[in-house]
């Protein structure tokens, strides 16, 4: 129940989408992923780093990601997440859906036309 509260700050599925998008560029481990998202959003999005992990588990379970133990650049034993083919397809779908939704919202919010 709590996890949904946290995500309501964004919207359901947003965090997952960002994770998929980030991992599409390159496989990363949890910490690096958090840093990437923070940097990419230029600190506009405030995410608890902890909430990243349930989202990662969900994506793993749905087989959109896979994970392998490896050694990070800072020489730590970390789990590196990678996008699967299914994940890539899912991302495309989600992004196009999101863009459509965004357009819709923009139209409604556009001034002067009502």
């Amino acid at each position: 129940m709590t996890k949904e509260l946290e995500q309501r700050d964004l919207f359901p599925g947003a965090l997952e989408m960002m994770i998929l998008r980030t991992l599409k560029r390159q496989p990363l481990h949890g910490y690096a992923l958090a840093q990437h998202i923070k940097r990419a959003s230029e600190d506009i999005l405030q995410i608890d780093e902890g909430s990243l992990y349930p989202a990662l588990q969900r994506l793993l379970k749905e087989e959109l990601l896979k994970a392998e133990w490896g050694i990070s650049s800072t020489n730590r034993r970390v789990r590196i997440y990678k996008l699967t083919a299914k994940g890539a397809k899912h991302l495309e779908l989600e992004v196009s859906r999101f863009e459509k939704m965004l357009q819709g919202i923009k139209r409604v919010l556009a001034p002067g036309e009502s």
């Binding site: 949890g30 780093e49 992990y53 349930p54 379970k61 730590r76 034993r77």
Partner: protein, 886 residues
Amino acid sequence: MYWLKHLFSRKRLYSELAEEMREHLEETIGELVESGMSREEATHAARRKFGNITLAEEDCREMWRWPAIEDSFMDVRFGARMLRKNPGFTAVAVVTLALGIAVNITIFSAVNGWMLRRPRIEDPARVVVILTSDPAKEGWGWDRQPVSPFDFVAWREQSQSFEDMAASDRDDFVLTGGGEPERLSGMRVSANYFEVLGVSAAMGRTFLPGEDQPGRNGVVILSHGLWQRRFGSNPAVMGQVVRLNGEDFTVVGVMSNGYRIGVYGSPQLWTPIVFPPESLLPAARGNRSLEVMARLKSGATVDTAKAEMAALAKRSEQAYADKSKGIGATAMSIQHYIADEFGVGMRLQMGLVLFVLLIACVNVANLQLARGAERQREFAMRAALGASPFRMVRQLLVESLLIALAGGGLGLLLACWGVALFRTGLSSVGDVSPIAREVTIDHTVMIYTLGISALTAILFGLAPAVHQAQGLHSTLKEGGRAISQSKARQRTQSVLVTAEIALALVLVIATGVFAQEFLDRVHTSFGIDANQVLTADISLSSVGYKDPSKQAAFFQEAIQHLEALPGVTSAGATSNLPLGDYASTVTFSIEGRPVLSRTERAQTNYFAISPDYLRTLGIPLIRGRNFLSSDSAQAPPVALVNQELVQRYFPNEEPIGKRIRLDTSGLERTDWSEIVGVVGNVRDSFDQRKYAPQAYEPYPQKLSSLMTLVVRARTDPGAFAPTFRRAVWEVDKDQPITAVQTMNQVMAQSVNVTRLVNILIGTFAGLGLALAAVGVFAVIAYTVVQRTHEIGIRMALGARRSEVLRMVVKKGIVLAAVGGGSGLALGIPLVWLKLGMFNDDLLPFDQRGPVFLAAVFVVCLAALVASYIPARRATRVDPMVALRYE
């Protein structure tokens, strides 16, 4: 199936998650320290950035769970723990249920083996049995009559609904050569019989088309049992010639082990049937003996077949009006037909065992209620911690299910034993012994066990569970002794116990009624003096006795040989032995009365006897004369009748000198037989209490190739058997002698089936009564425990022990009275309405009074004893202890 894999490797998964997050924090801390923070500060900052670690971890774990199932696992684990913690309750509940379930499984395995299992033929759903109905026949089975050869041939040709139609007829065969001569029950079948059924031989072949034509019919198929027993399982028997009834038959096949259709369908051999030309004349249409089966054409259904058979019968009725008035025909699916043969009896047993199970369920429900009182606080606590009522009901139902499954498992074990006992019981009954081994515990029975266990769980678990969940709110507030709650609980318990007593009473009434019928039959005179009488069956079907005069000569000589033996008082022969396996009923006409068609004529039991038969069995001659040796085939035909026949058909007349005509064959007889004497009544089966009309003719005038010899000895007739055989073999050394037994044994056998039924019903009633008594005991005992405090106060205030005793026992009396009343209200109509289905010759209803009284007495006594024991305990309550009791 990713999640499934993880369901089992979750421990590792969770520790990996924890490690991963720890690393994440470490990495953050490391970076912050590098940027100049102190380690302590960095740790705090990292934690802040990460958020709630425990929550994140929990959320992650949740991702991998399947909540509905895992909660159930938890319920099961918890339930099992609760049951282990309370072994006394668990044991009593499980054993109670196991008993109830075991009797159900035992009876169901018979129902399954006989009625539900598909017959071992190809596509049984497409096979129907063709039956004729004869309104003139009395009682059950009038619409289950066989078919005459004449109709079979006609209908086979005319019908459109069937691929083909096959006929079979039971017959006895005498096998000679290679060992003692032996009489075997066999079946004559049309050549297409096995093809219609879609059954092939285990070895060799079945019959070929045309093998049921005269001259080509010298072929035989052996049953697996006969092949094993008589031919030592030797495959070389194929193609060999065996002698049956003095003729040569070539063995062409052996059927597979256990091949059987219907109740009595376990022949030891099959030969082709050849219809003698006279049986195909319209006049022989009344001679119905064939069991006819047919396979439906594609497109035809049982219903269309039914309609067509009805139309065909109508057509025959119009064509041969004098021979077939009122005779109809119908089709019935073979499985329905087989199930019907067992129908009434098995339904009765199923009903009774269901009562036992209900009583067991009520008992366990009561135990649950009592235990629920003790667990009140546990559940109140769970409710306070946020458990939903649904979740708690589920928890309780899961516990019930665990008890029920344990009970079902134990019940299955007990049922293995029960089935073995049941089979032993059946094997002792000649008629049904072949089907005993089909009572087995197979996978259908297992599934039934599972189903019935689950059902009982709901039956005994739901009410207590709902009770528990409803009464939650008051409990914590009351802080201890939940008085109002326990009132409602006690009310439910009382209702349940009342129901239990009522159910037990119905069972006891059923037992009483059956026992009453049984005893009445035992004590009604059989009309014969069975002591010191030895009997044996002789079948003269072999070829040497084709000539009737030779048969007569054989019996005459055999009787002479037997009479000449030292120690023999008299010897005789009869075509049918009263209480024996074969009974013969014929229609008859009285000279000078209006001529009736065959179906309208009166019926009588029929016996062809030798002159000394009546004396040998001790049947008294009331008036007139006995048969004499001068009543030969050439002499004018004569007959004897019993008192019952006189009473029914010559009420105010002198029967002696009147003439009757007995229809002893399919063809009309032209000769009348003069009644020369009146003899005593003889009961002809154990189940019939009333005497039936009986008529006798001298055997030389009406020969039967199958006779029973009876001998009255001066000493023990059992020891006399070898001498008996030798005397017969002196006449013909190849003559098989079967069923050598004393008349007392014959009578005992006729009692067997009924006795088995009585034992079964008695067992069920005993079990039900015991369970009900335990139930009463438990409830009263529980009341006493609940009221210990109150009783203590009463006694402290000066109540005497006898008063306390009375107070507690009073509750038992009220329960017994209400339960007994409703039991009577339930039981009497059941007995009245339903018992008639089982047997149409019952005691009049007004004689049942003593049985009902006795049943009520037994049940109430059991209830009283069950409440007296805990009541005694109540009087021993020490006021000091009771007042401190919390």
